[in-house]
Amino acid sequence: MQALTQFLHNPMGIIGTLMLLVVVAMAVFAPWLAPYDPQAQIQVSPDQILTPPDAQHLLGRDDAGKDVLSQLIYGARVSLIVGFTASFMSMVIGTTVGLVAGYFGGRIGNLLMRLVDFLMVIPDLPLMLVVIAVMGRGLLNIILVIGLLGWTYTARLVRSQVLSIRERQFVLRARAIGASSARIILRHVLPQVLPLIIAQAVLDISVAILAESSLAFLGLGDPTLVSWGMMLNFAFERALSRQAWWFLLPPGFAIVWVSLSLVLIGNTLDQIVNPRLRTHHLFDPRRMVALRPERE
């Protein structure tokens, strides 16, 4: 598709994709890449705690004597799993709500949009904190909480798109030939909104990863898994005073790295699929070239 070629010509998109591939590789090949197993129990002596980087531990050791680099590599798994799953959930819920509210409008539409407004008004993080505190810490709960609260933006986006798509003449034609509402929504409206949904979903992954990191940082992450947020939690509590930068910086840097990669990809996709962002050549002096004719 020409969207793909456009994407491949965009430096932002390429950089973002490469950055993300690094993280994906880390997550997939963790057992082979990580020099140590973060889950393994080890016996350590006091002088082996919070040691700075050396030949055997490239990023040093944490407050329990475990290798920081291995934790960093395995931490990618939690971030990506939570990110992709929660975002997918948001995408599905948000799209469904947006399609129904946008296409049918009326009372159903109003009701759904008021629900969206309600959820958007409540601050995300405190709400998530409360829910996790009640439901208990665990990977599934984290994914649920993030996914079930993060769909509102997509819903709004989809609804506003559907409002304009449903006025288009090919939708009217579908009605004229007798198509049911379900058919129209699935076959005619959804394909038009899909590119925007995907672009938004990529950005949502970044938001989900940040949400998970925040929750873990605040101590509400899954205690049985290694996650960058949790690494930051421990680092802040125990390593900051000792100035153990090797424990503090890498997880923060990793979170920024993966978020940035997704934002770059998502913005590139958005630029490609969003028709409003394309401009006529007369509006951009750089694209308006009043050349002297080239003589043959």
Partner: protein, 324 residues
């Protein structure tokens, strides 16, 4: 000497992979002072491209690859961008296709006209600019007080008039109107055409009207240029083109145009489609659809030159002399 003399203008568009598409080839025409020229052709024939090239406003994929555009003897294609900016709007201006929908919605109509005046230093103070804007609006039939309104408060016809006023802000010698009446009701179309005719007379303006509507051209223009597939098919006075057309395309185009005074007569159509720029025939671009009985091999092999068959009447056909 003609006011505007375009000679052998050729324009290429670069495709995504860099190959040049010969969008316009060897277009030549003359526009005399205070006369109006209609450029007629169907969608994709290159008429808008030619106009953008005259003002040197082609997009970056467009390249002028040959020819001269002589305005008062001066070749516009040889000017630097700074010099060209001086020409644009002061000597030659344009009402773009769909301009009536491109007015800035958050500024008053008057301020938009005033902006053009100030930018081109036609006046020296904002107050003088507003004054002059009011005069221009009155000239196109809009009460000056309405200048303080916003574009959405204007009807379609009024917006088109406002855009014409904007194009006339710097008293150009040549005004190009690209599809000035598309999307307007029949009655408003008539009003706009009447306005253009009146302005041409009052301001001694030279007018180029680009359109696919033959009726408009018959009503308003002194001379007509028929374009097909990026080339000139036929050019001549309005009377000659409508009553004595020689090019097969011109003839078919006229037959396809419904005549309200002869309802029920058969309407012709031209089978086939205009040529694709990436698949141009080596010879005459109209040859694949030409119905002419004495078509020969040369038609498909060689481009026909523009031949003058009568003073001011030329056509591009290998059989020009025989048809005359």
């Amino acid at each position: 000497m003609a006011l505007l003399d375009v000679r052998d203008l050729s324009i290429d568009y670069l495709a995504d992979d860099g190959t040049p598409l010969h969008a316009v080839e060897n277009v030549s025409f003359r526009l005399e002072q205070a006369r109006s020229l209609g450029i007629v052709g169907e969608s994709g024939c290159g008429k808008t491209t030619v106009m953008m090239a005259l003002l040197r406003l082609l997009p970056e994929e467009g390249r002028i690859v040959g020819g001269q555009v002589l305005l008062d003897g001066r070749d516009l294609l040889q000017l630097s961008e700074a010099e060209m900016r001086h020409v644009r709007w002061r000597s030659m201006s344009m009402v773009f296709q769909g301009a009536m929908n491109a007015l800035n919605p958050v500024r008053t109509v008057e301020s938009q006209i005033a902006e053009a005046l100030l930018l081109h230093s036609v006046v020296d103070s904002p107050r003088a600019a507003r004054q002059r804007a009011g005069e221009l609006l009155a000239m196109v039939g809009i009460p000056p007080q309405r200048g303080r309104q916003y574009p959405h408060q204007y009807s379609g016809g009024m917006r088109q008039r406002a855009v014409i006023a904007m194009a006339l802000a710097c008293n150009p010698r040549v005004l190009i109107a690209d599809e000035p009446t598309t999307a307007l009701d029949v009655m408003i179309q008539a009003q706009i055409l009447e306005l253009l005719t009146r302005l041409q007379a009052d301001l001694n303006l030279s007018l180029i009207v680009v359109t696919h509507d033959l009726g408009m051209v018959a009503e308003v223009c002194d001379d007509v240029l028929v374009m097909y597939g990026g080339m000139v098919a036929e050019v001549g006075s309005s009377d000659a083109i409508f009553n004595d057309p020689h090019h097969p395309y011109t003839q078919r185009l006229l037959e396809a145009f419904p005549d309200i005074e002869r309802p029920g007569s058969t309407l012709a159509s031209i089978p086939g489609n205009p040529p694709r720029l990436d698949d141009l025939p080596p010879g005459c671009r109209f040859e694949p659809r030409c119905h002419c009985p004495w078509r020969e091999a040369v038609c498909a092999r060689q481009r026909p030159p523009l031949v003058e068959i009568a003073p001011g009447h030329s056509l591009a056909c290998h059989f020009a002399r025989r048809l005359a």
